[in-house]
Subunit: 388 residues, 2 copies
């Protein structure tokens, strides 16, 4: 099925052979002792990857969108105030989603490629008491990374619950959920977690669980209700079977393999590696003369890079040439600039070799499009950072 | 991971090697031409498996519970009347789910092991105008199969939309969605569809789509809203990429392989084979002297069998002995009789050989528990039906 190009989009990513092998292995019963052990281990490992030792992990069949929904629907009651910080398409979508559950939403939008000044967030929180605030850690549509640590600290001051959309960050960007006071941090399997798509993953703080327990109205969604899932997660973690819906057995086996690999690398080494990969891309694009959507490299993501095409070059011209050179990249997603930029995913288990191959293919594409630059300058700049 | 016993539970089932191979193959981009073709084919094939040429298929990452939710949440508005026909745990759950979305629910419950008389359903429909009626085609907790054809016909008379929970039926039990006037028929991948768990699958009639379009209030759930998914399904079927949430690429590749196999067998042959397998189980259990939860074999499922343990034998004694003899079966699920019966799944691609192996292991378990019967009588009775 898959062609032989490297898949360097912001998810699905290139998955490790061991992960794919676990996925394609014969399926056991969801109540078989072997599977109970695997599911229990995966839940324990999630706490370590999220750096949230007191957190409650949830693993549910669904896409990242379901994780976004599950994170807020358990906390919001009709009429509750929610502050949404938007740095792209996914922040805006969070506002839509919250309104669906009759939250009163205040949307703060950053200008394209920028973040929202912390002071502006603090002013908003000081002005009204918000039940929760959503943060997009990395918005896939812009490549902008927000300062989740500082935002968590500010929200704590105002007793506001924080929900972090970590779809493009968890297990790639630095995230210390418990230390930073993030109440729910969520992601999808096909991103830096390194498992084919189909799992919604989230970890909730004790404060989030407590807020859910104290709610006065039923959760406005059945499938995403923690009431259905909490007993299941607790049972599997205690190495007992329990049933609400059939768990996605194969995906959970693959998840457990990938989490073990992630912890084998170590979270600190993993964060550092993603920072190094980011610097390699930033430097390569700088010497190639490509501008990026994030207006400052300090708030550019470590998991993906979003460069503009050079003037006069279009995506429909450029991307097939990069693919012909061996690498699949993603087009734009943000409606304001959809056709003016592209996206490179470099999260998860990618090797330095894959990064060089990617920059090499970008150079090849640029050359074929007639762009003037010194061939090899990008890979050389990246190499100096990757091997330092 | 999986032990070497045959997995004969009501899902996950034993999956075909080709299906597992497709699942574990390297993941392509969700917008790669190869994947767009696969997804498009899978949608087209669903119409043929559901026998619903005018239907709109939906494939979404999630469990069967999500399919149940998606089927009704798009049709129900707060205050709408819904009639729920319950023949076990899953019918009761549908009533809970519908109440969550503020439907006014009338629950008709069959006595354990029985169906609801058609006349009683017709009386209920004649008395009040219901927006929709839910039918559990086969309730996994009881093994009772309802007469979906007649129920569809009655509902049509009263202009009531029908939602069929086909989790334990689609691609096993006879189902002719369009001919029978069923508006939404749903299932999960790990049942007779033959794909590891993680996909919610449903087909909606033009009448259901029209009812959704005419609704006055927004759908009370974001992830399950057809508004988000209909453009995606239409795009992939037209062999174009589109994005709302990342589709579960590997599971969809596996689904397409399995649907091709199902259509290769042919729906009529498949229905007939499941009927033959049912008769083999019915006859084997009769000669072994085991009673069943369904009170009449005419309304027993063709996809699973739910026998009571002989008196004096418990599940904790019996099931491990069956497993030691090579076959994993499922315990009870219905709270009223949980410890008094067990469940055998025989849906999907199971061969006659697997059926004999299963009955042989049941005989071995009975013998080890000290049950008095003629060893070999069960397999012999089944064999006469399977080879006739």
């Amino acid at each position: 099925m898959k062609d032989r190009t490297l898949l360097m989009i912001p998810g699905p990513i290139e998955f490790e052979p061991e992960v794919l092998q676990a996925l394609g292995a014969p399926t056991s019963s969801h109540v078989a002792p072997e599977f109970i052990e695997v599911f229990g281990q995966a839940l324990e490992r999630m706490r370590k990857v999220w750096l949230c030792p007191s957190g409650q992990p949830f693993v549910v069949a669904g896409s990242g969108m379901l994780a976004l929904e599950m994170a807020v629907v358990n906390l919001i009651e009709p009429g509750d105030k929610a502050l949404v910080l938007s740095t792209g398409v996914f922040g805006d979508r969070y506002a839509d989603l919250l309104r669906r559950y009759r939250a009163e939403v205040k949307l703060l939008r950053a200008p394209l490629g920028e973040t929202i000044p912390l002071q502006q967030v603090e002013e908003a929180l000081a002005k009204h008491q918000y039940k929760l605030m959503t943060i997009t850690h990395v918005d896939t549509s812009t490549g902008v990374r927000t300062d989740a640590k500082s935002l968590g600290a500010i929200a704590s001051k105002y007793d506001t619950l924080t929900v972090l959309d970590g779809v493009c960050s968890v297990a790639g960007e630095e995230l210390r959920q418990e230390e930073w006071g993030i109440d729910v941090a969520l992601t999808a399997s096909q991103k830096a977690i390194g498992v084919p798509p189909g799992l919604a993953l989230l970890v909730a703080s004790p404060r989030a669980i407590e807020a859910w327990r104290r709610r006065k109205t039923p959760v406005g969604n059945y499938y995403a209700d923690w009431k259905n899932w909490l007993p299941i997660m607790s049972a599997y973690e205690a190495r007992k079977a329990s049933y609400f819906a059939t768990p996605p057995v194969n995906l959970i086996c693959a998840l457990n393999v990938s989490l073990e690999r992630i912890l084998g690398e170590g979270m600190e080494a993993r964060f550092a590696r993603h920072q190094r990969f980011k610097r390699a891309f930033q430097e390569a694009l700088r010497v190639l003369g490509l501008k990026q959507v994030p207006t400052d490299s300090r708030h550019a993501a470590a998991t993906l890079t979003a460069p503009y095409y050079p003037s006069g070059i279009t995506g429909s011209e450029f991307l097939p040439k990069v693919k012909a050179a061996g690498v699949t990249l993603a087009g734009g997603l943000h409606p304001d600039i959809k056709d003016r930029y592209f996206r490179i995913g470099h999260m998860g288990a990618e090797t330095a070799g894959n990064l060089l191959a990617t920059i090499g293919a970008i150079e090849a594409g640029l050359e074929k499009c007639g762009y003037q630059f010194e061939l090899g300058a990008g890979v050389s700049a990246a190499q100096r950072i990757l091997r330092s």
